[in-house]
């Protein structure tokens, strides 16, 4: 048993607003008219298209193969026809289009042949990881990081943590999932424990989810007796990976390190269920639970197919009048959706209808008064106000020195800021600017390398050519000298040919030979009738040439050629 819980520094306690949607059981969202399945689960991972327009696909059929290091496969969420491949918006603050496969469902929802993946323990680890990759399993907590990579790092694993904290306000998808599918989650957890080699499983759930805790406890004793369900205090962001590790184990992960380096792996409960369904049932990841809540009449939780346009889901919960925006993710870390036609992706855990009453427009930014409230709220021990100054002044080197990249963008600092400074926006700006510079720097390095190699190659070719010419000249010279020596006995010294002249003559002779060789010879194998015709034409041409020659010899010569 865990004897005591630890706590992390900072954190805030915003109003949870979970009561609205937590009572609604998970319902199956209806099939939309068209599904837009993006070929990437997040901005970094990619998949390579393997279907073409007009092709019929079955539910669960692979439509995109994993591509690159972070790549994971994607699958058809239902049976139907691939209508087209288009560039369509995905839920992202940029509103930039990405390649999407458009599938028109046929309504039959016919599965591809499903085969459970047997004997996890018997197969080699890499085979299982490849299977998970090809089943499109990514973290369902929100970031959609490929699970096979998270499992894969070869290190001694001691503890597997299942993250059921769900600390962000409004979101209830994990809560409902734990209440309704606790057995499946626990089966997935024991599979993950087997894969990682973890000796114990800890399931962290915030203590405001009493029913989920009870359900998970029951399932845990049934499926995996060594596992423990722990109620953690409700404090945002208790569901952050490093924060949950700290609370459950007391291990404080240092700046710039990952939990994996301390023998701990952390997975979302939804991911565990997806792993169970992929391995035990042979079902790839094609749907997920999404909470639809906010300024709506009937908030609820829905099992939604990946690729369902968000605007098709909204009628299910009936948004109230006054809704002016929709948030993707929670109110602390999410973003306002620029385009409602964007589909649900693997990282979509919640859509919140926002109204000016629920989410008042940001108040004007006032100057930072260095009150330090943000430093007290920061759960990763950063100095948000310093980071703010550096990001604002575009002093990115200094921002990195202050561990900008440890920032988890949880929004606690901006939440407590009395000057209403959108601090996280500054950090995001600084981070993406630094990444862009890094990319440019790498490109410049590559260009420099290629430029230098090209210069080296040109120099090398030049010297090689010069060496070749010199060798040939020396050879001819030697030949001529030998010839001259042989003839020199009886010939007069004055009559000895100039070696240069001889060289030129030899070159001209070679050129002549080559010219003859390359002259057209397509008149050789002609039948006699054609030959006689040519001869006749030549005969007719002769007097004309004789006529031409006196005034323009050159042109006649060219014609002769």
């Amino acid at each position: 048993m865990i004897e005591r819980l630890f706590r992390f520094r900072g954190g805030v306690q915003p109003a949870t607003h979970k009561d609205d949607s937590v009572v609604a059981p998970i319902a199956q969202a209806p099939l939309p008219k068209r599904l837009y399945v993006p070929l990437r689960p997040n901005t970094r991972a990619k998949a390579r298209l393997i279907v073409e327009p007009g092709q019929k696909v079955l539910k669960g059929e692979c439509i995109g193969e994993a591509d690159g290091v972070l790549g994971t496969a994607c699958h058809a969420p239902t049976s139907g026809t691939v209508v087209e491949i288009v560039r369509h918006a995905m839920p992202h603050p940029s509103d930039l289009p990405v390649a999407c496969v458009v599938i028109e469902p046929d309504g039959e929802d016919r599965w591809i042949e499903r085969q459970p993946f047997h004997c996890v323990c018997a197969s080699s680890r890499q085979v299982v990881l490849d299977y998970l990759r090809d089943s499109g399993i990514v973290g369902l907590g929100g970031a959609a990081f490929p699970s096979h990579i998270k499992i894969g790092t070869q290190r001694e694993v001691d503890t597997l943590i299942l993250n059921g904290a769900e600390c962000e306000p409004w979101i209830t998808s994990d809560d409902r999932l734990m209440r309704e599918q606790a057995d499946e989650i626990m089966r997935g957890a024991s599979l993950l424990a087997e894969l990682t080699g973890a000796k114990r499983i800890l399931i962290g759930i915030e203590d405001n989810k009493a029913e989920a805790i009870a359900a998970m406890r029951e399932a845990a004793t049934k499926v995996h007796p060594v596992s423990q369900v722990v109620a953690v205090p409700t404090l945002y962001p208790a569901g952050g990976e490093k924060q949950l590790i700290r609370v459950l184990t007391g291990i404080e992960i240092p700046h710039g390190k990952l939990g994996a380096e301390f023998g701990i792996r952390c997975f979302n409960v939804g991911t565990a269920r997806a792993v169970h369904r992929a391995i035990d049932l042979g079902e790839p990841l094609i749907s997920r639970v999404v909470t639809l809540t906010g300024n709506v009449e009937q908030p609820g939780n829905f099992e939604v197919l990946i690729g369902t346009p968000i605007e098709d889901l909204l009628p299910l919960v009936k948004p109230k009048a006054g809704t002016d925006k929709y948030l993707h993710g929670g109110p602390m870390m999410g973003f306002a959706l620029p385009d409602l036609s964007a589909p649900v992706v693997k990282g979509t855990n919640c859509i919140i209808a926002g109204s000016p009453d629920l989410f008042p427009p940001p108040k004007p930014e006032l100057p930072c008064i260095r009150c330090g409230a943000c430093s007290q709220a920061c759960p990763v021990d950063l100095q948000p106000l310093e980071l703010y100054w550096f990001a604002r002044a575009k002093n990115f080197g200094k921002a990195q020195e202050y561990h900008l990249f440890d920032c988890i963008e949880c929004g606690c600092c901006a939440y407590v800021c009395p000057s209403h400074i959108p601090l996280v926006d500054y950090y995001r700006f600084a981070k993406s600017e630094i990444w862009a510079r890094e990319r440019e720097h790498n490109e410049a390095d590559q260009a420099r390398e290629r430029f230098e190699f090209r210069n080296y190659r040109i120099e090398r070719e030049k010297s090689e050519k010069a060496a070749k010419l010199a060798a040939r000249a020396a050879e001819t010279k030697a030949k001529l000298a030998a010839k001259a020596a042989a003839e020199g006995a009886d010939a007069d010294k004055a009559a000895e040919p100039d070696p240069k002249k001889a060289l030129i003559e030899a070159a001209m002779k070679r050129a002549q030979e080559q010219k003859e060789k390359s002259a057209p010879k397509n008149t050789e194998n002609l039948p006699d009738s054609v030959k006689s015709e040519i001869a006749e034409i030549d005969k007719r041409r002769k007097p004309l040439e004789a006529f031409d020659e006196p005034d323009n010899g050159a042109s006649a010569g060219e014609e002769n050629k």
Binding site: L96, P356, P361, P422, S432, A436, Q446, R448, F451
Partner: protein
């Protein structure tokens, strides 16, 4: 008196020998400042600065022959970094060398290309593939956007196209908020 002189002379000798040995032992090959300048330059190798490549320009800056504001692809940001590195005054970009443009790549219109290989010879980073009388094409990720291939093309089939923003290269904008009256106050 004599002891003091001897001690001082001895010290001077010892220190002199040590310094002399150190200057040979720890001799820095090449010019580190040129490397530092070269690291800041964008490596487009476009020659707009008047030198045949980024490194020659870096050498010229280090020798004091060239000014720091002659690199249009590096832009204002590059000049700022150079002025920080060299402790020189910041100057706006010298427009006689060109203007700052968004990053572009060369695109060959393959319908028009006659396969003359002139662009391949002009490309400083070997980013164009093709052979004589074969269609040429630009390898996008390698193209630095130097525009050196545009002029030699006898059929003008090369154009420069700005690189579009993708979801991978997208950047969060600098947070700017419009100052406007509070809508809640206005209604009340």
């Amino acid at each position: 008196m004599l002891t003091a002189l001897l001690v001082m002379a001895g010290l001077a000798l010892v220190i002199g020998v040590t310094l002399g040995w150190a200057s040979i032992r720890f001799k820095v090959e090449g010019d580190p400042i040129v490397d530092q300048i070269d690291a800041i330059l964008p490596q487009t190798q476009c020659g707009q600065c008047g030198y045949p490549g980024c490194r020659p320009y870096a050498t010229a800056i280090a020798n004091g022959e060239a000014d720091i504001n002659q690199c249009p692809p590096g832009g204002e940001e590059g000049i700022r970094q150079l002025s920080d590195l060299l402790g020189r005054e910041f100057k706006p970009l010298d427009e006689t060398h060109g203007v700052e443009k968004p990053k572009s790549v060369a695109v060959i219109d393959e319908q028009i290309c006659i396969g003359c290989t002139l662009c391949i010879q002009a490309c400083p980073v070997d980013a164009i593939v093709g052979a004589a009388k074969q269609m040429h094409t630009v390898v996008d990720p390698l193209c630095t956007g130097c525009e050196l291939c545009v002029a030699p093309c006898p059929v003008s089939c090369i154009s420069m196209e700005p690189v579009p923003e993708t979801i991978e290269t997208w950047k969060w904008r600098y947070p700017v908020f419009r100052i406007e009256p509070d809508p809640l106050e206005k209604t009340s």
